[in-house]
């Protein structure tokens, strides 16, 4: 017989064993089993001691692990069918969401807007990182680049020697193919019709179609470039020349290119915009295999195996030593020039540094990272809104949870129900977001750059991404609230105990701080980017760009007639000046010179351009010492910039002699004030203007954009057989800051967005807080509290949070901006006012958001608020 019930000790059996028992045991049985075990335990304490009792207890628990205790209870309770459980839950969810429409609307709107932004950024990122990945052999294709070393200087060149590709193809089995593209200025004449100047035409090897994927719409890729005088056009050019004719009929048509007859042998699809090497047409050509001196072809190598590339670098160095450099030595003799080649994977070309003579505008990985982070931030802000709303409403749903649990719902079922609610909202938000993006379509690609279109959203591949994003956000936004709600104790929940008291809204507050930290940082960032961009665009560059037009001189033949063109132009009263000098803003190669200072020869690297005597006046450059070139016709005069004088250390620059070689000595006639020949990213280096009165690359004309017909008419009368190709310096200038301007536009949108979504969240929260404290406010009013007091009562907490966010955001933003500004040689200083103004602006906005509900609460008649129940 067991001992009497009243004899028991305070000792407890090992908790882990009990937990294990409860875990495995059939819920119908564990009570009696555990009771018996406890009883046995208490008896054993007296008879066998505490240690033994515990051991025996644990052992017994193990022995109860048997079939009958493990049986699931489903034998006893019929389980509801899926539809019986799902539809009532769904109905309840929908009813609940509908009842709190304003929360739903705020949540949905915030989600949709930030998802739309996120989708746009995703498009941008996939565009930027997808460069050249459309080639099926992309991972095996490498481009060669060259380092040109000459006494003291090193130039990195994108083009390589023409002779390299055939040598690689013949001598090395791992090279499957090596092809070249040679940029060519092409003047295209279609029958007797108009002239077109095409800048994106390459001469190319016939095998380019075997290396790259250029889908052919008409013609045979195997033979297209084999025949001499064959041309392959892309669809756009074909349409430009022949209109909407059937592409097949264009094969065999003739075109006059650079005054020679060519036959069209193929039409290819336009290349995707995210392709590093872009062209509109390809010409067949006869190459000279042994030509090592003309460094002008982009050379691509296709390896048999992607693994071959790394070891091939060594072989390349050997080729340079044994073949390339001896030949250069032989040809150029004393010049001491060496050429070294390197390999770059095709898909990484977009992010390499811009080399001399490189193919396309290069991307900057930093911006890809920045925007990825921004996308994450924006989604985070929306998720936080979602979490905050769910948590804020948790106290209203406690009855529901209590009843469901009493009826028999298990925590994970409730968890699923709340998760699926979030899933529902997120999916709806995603659909809205896609609609937004599609509606904003054109504007979208205009801002992000051509080639990035919302059409990609409708492609099948996006389905997985979209579902992935939805699941990710659902998990992020729904997981914690669902867990929290489903963990309510049913009795407490039904009693209406304030289940939120436990955490006092700490989570909500910290999430709010994160939100506003992000938003404030973004606004400060936008402000700083804006001031840097404006600074760059408005800074006096040291020369005039406004109303300066640059006309490209097509070829040597045309160059002879350029003086006549100039004279004809100058007859018009609207054209005040014309100069043959090279554009001041093009990219220039660095050369090394010997300069004699005080009888001592020193080497220095300088940049130089050829100009005539009208150049300095035309461009409004300022001469600080000496004078302009004298129109003597003798090319022994140079003008240097102030950086040059500083570098050399002359006290008196004018009259100094600069030695270029034994036979080539020039005299400094003047010093020009520093001007920004490159973007403000770069420091101003020593620069020389050489006197050279003949026309060279371009003609600079001082003309207003409204008088362009004068230019066109003059060109027509003096050189009707050439196309007119011109550009205003101002346009070129703005293009150079394209990346920064685009970034500014995006920053504008995204900071606005983040603020908007964060304020939406704030609006939701304050309305909730006010609702919750309705009675309190009523009582306080009855007791004589003024409106101001009520307003401060409900908004004090939020203002504090905002202030905290400010203090975190300002140093964060400051650090990040300093980092970004490092990439500019000339930059704005970040003023304190910038930070203060941004922070205050956001605080004001937030206070405005708060004040609506706060004032509403303060104005409420206490009779109304106290009556509600």
């Amino acid at each position: 017989m067991p001992t009497p019930d009243n004899q028991f000790s305070e000792h407890q059996p090992p908790a882990w064993a009990t937990r294990f028992l409860r875990w495995y045991c059939n819920p119908e049985l564990w009570e009696e089993v555990e009771g018996d075990l406890q009883e046995a335990f208490q008896d054993r304490i007296r008879t066998q001691g505490i240690m033994m009792a515990k051991l025996r207890y644990a052992w017994d628990v193990m022995r109860f692990y048997r079939t009958f205790t493990l049986e699931s209870r489903k034998i006893h309770y019929p389980k509801a069918r899926f539809t019986e459980r799902f539809f009532p839950s769904l109905k309840l969810s929908l009813r609940y969401l509908w009842k709190h429409k304003s929360f739903l609307l705020i949540n949905l709107l915030g989600l949709a807007i930030s998802l739309a932004a996120c989708l746009m950024i995703l498009q941008y990122i996939s565009f930027e990182t997808g460069y050249d990945t459309f080639h099926t052999r992309a991972n095996r294709i490498y481009r060669l680049s060259a380092t040109l070393k000459s006494a003291g200087s090193e130039d990195l060149l994108a083009p390589t020697a023409i002779g390299l590709a055939p040598a690689l193809k013949q001598g090395y089995p791992e090279v499957e193919a090596a092809v070249r593209f040679i940029p060519t200025m092409a003047v295209v004449q279609h029958k007797e019709g108009a002239l077109f100047s095409e800048n994106y035409i390459f001469k190319a090897d016939p095998e380019v179609f075997e290396v790259f994927d250029y889908p052919m719409l008409a013609g045979n890729p195997g033979t297209a470039l084999k025949a001499p005088h064959a041309v392959v056009l892309n669809e756009t050019l074909a349409k430009k020349y022949f209109g909407d004719r059937d592409l097949q009929t264009l094969i065999g048509q003739s075109l006059t290119i650079n005054h020679q007859p060519y036959q069209i042998t193929g039409i290819i699809q336009d290349l995707p915009k995210n392709s590093d090497l872009r062209f509109d047409g390809l010409l067949s050509w006869q190459f000279q295999p042994e030509d090592w001196l003309e460094i002008e072809s982009y050379t691509y190598v296709l390896f048999r195996d992607a693994q071959d590339a790394a070891p091939f670098e060594k072989k390349l160095a050997a080729i340079d030593e044994t073949q390339v450099n001896p030949r250069l030595q032989q040809e150029w003799g004393a010049m001491d020039v060496q050429l070294y080649h390197h390999l770059h994977p095709l898909t990484s070309l977009h992010y390499t540094d811009y080399l001399l003579g490189d193919t396309e505008y290069k991307g900057n990985k930093m911006y890809v990272y920045i925007f990825s982070v921004i996308a994450l931030f924006i989604v985070m802000i929306a998720c936080i809104n979602s979490i905050n709303f769910s948590m804020a409403q948790a106290s209203r749903r406690n009855i529901e949870v209590g009843i469901r649990k009493t009826i028999g719902a298990r925590p994970f079922q409730l968890w699923w129900q709340y998760m699926s609610e979030t899933l529902l909202i997120t999916s709806a938000g995603m659909i809205l977001a896609i609609l937004f993006v599609l509606l904003a379509g054109d504007y979208f690609s205009e801002t992000l750059g051509e080639g990035i279109t919302p059409a990609a959203l409708l492609q099948s591949g996006f389905l997985y991404t979209g579902i992935g994003i939805i699941l990710f956000i659902t998990l992020l936004a729904g997981c914690y609230p669902a867990f929290f709600l489903s963990s309510f104790h049913p009795i407490k929940a039904l009693k209406g105990a304030n289940l939120l008291n436990r955490q006092k809204g700490t989570l909500r507050k910290s999430l709010l701080i994160i939100q506003f930290t992000v938003a404030i940082s973004m606004v400060i960032g936008t402000w700083a980017v804006r001031s840097q961009v404006y600074y760059m665009q408005s800074k006096d560059l040291g020369f005039r760009q406004h109303k300066i037009l640059s006309v490209t001189i097509p070829d040597d033949e045309a160059r002879k007639r350029i003086p006549a063109f100039r004279d004809a132009l100058l007859k018009h009263s609207h054209v005040s000046q014309v100069s043959f000098g090279s554009r001041p803003d093009a990219l220039w190669s660095v050369s090394v010179l010997s300069v004699k200072v005080h009888g001592e020869t020193r080497k220095m690297s300088v940049i130089g351009i050829n100009v005539d005597e009208n150049y300095i006046d035309l461009l409004d450059m300022k001469i600080s010492r000496g004078q302009n070139f004298l129109p003597t016709g003798k090319e022994d005069q140079i003008i240097v910039n102030e950086a040059f004088v500083k570098e050399v250390g002359w006290d008196q620059a004018v009259g100094q002699e600069v030695v270029f070689s034994e036979t080539d000595k020039k005299r400094v006639v003047g010093v020009v004030k520093n001007f920004h020949y490159a973007t403000l990213h770069k420091k101003i280096e020593p620069f020389i203007l050489f006197y050279h009165p003949e026309p060279q690359i371009n003609v600079l004309v001082d003309i207003a954009p409204t008088n362009l017909e004068i230019l066109e008419a003059t060109w027509q009368s003096t050189m009707p057989d050439y196309p007119l190709d011109f550009e205003f310096l101002e346009d070129a200038f703005h293009r150079k800051y394209q990346t920064e301007t685009r970034m500014l536009t995006l920053f504008n949108y995204f900071s606005g967005l983040s603020i908007f979504v964060a304020c939406l969240g704030l609006l939701g929260l304050i309305s909730f807080v006010v609702q919750q404290r309705t009675k309190e406010i009523g009582i306080r009013k009855v007791l004589g509290a003024g409106r101001l007091m009520i307003v401060s009562l409900v908004s004090k907490e939020f203002i504090l949070i905002l202030l905290m966010a400010c203090t975190i955001a300002i140093p964060l933003a400051y650090g990040a901006l300093q980092q970004w500004l490092q990439s500019f040689a000339y930059k704005v200083t970040l003023s304190v006012s910038l930070f203060i103004v941004s922070a205050v602006a956001i605080l004001m906005l937030a206070v405005l958001t708060l004040s609506y509900h706060a004032l509403k609460a303060a104005r409420q008649n206490p009779v109304e608020s106290l009556r509600y129940e």
């Binding site: 009696e32 009771g35 022995r63």
Partner: protein, 110 residues
């Protein structure tokens, strides 16, 4: 159900439940068997047997009587059903019948 065969241990459990009458629950039955037989009995074996006996409808049960000593857990009290009583009687009859069939000489010690 796999017949109404009564195993040896089941019989002991059933007998103990009958002895304890109103106080028959797992632990008490285990104690009773230990006391009667002097064997060490595992609780889980008793519970398992009770579970089987209930399924064979030799026993019915109800939950009641939580005590502090049991950590506030109720016990499951078992009561013999008429089937249970019948089964016990049959078991006893079987034994008596078989005892009677043993020739006297077996136990005759002289």
């Amino acid at each position: 159900m796999k017949g109404t065969y009564l195993g040896e241990f089941e019989e002991l459990v059933l007998l103990s439940a009958a002895i304890l009458y109103d106080e028959a629950y797992g632990y008490a039955i285990a104690q009773e068997i230990e006391k009667q037989t002097g064997r060490s009995i595992s609780l889980s074996a008793v519970h398992s047997a009770l579970h089987r006996l209930e399924q064979k409808s030799f026993l019915t049960s109800r939950l009641a009587g939580a005590t502090t000593k049991r950590g506030g857990k109720r016990r499951r009290f078992f009561t013999l059903t008429s089937d249970g009583k019948l089964a016990l009687q049959e078991a006893m009859q079987l034994r008596q019948q078989m005892w009677a069939a043993i020739p006297q000489v077996v136990f005759h010690t002289t």
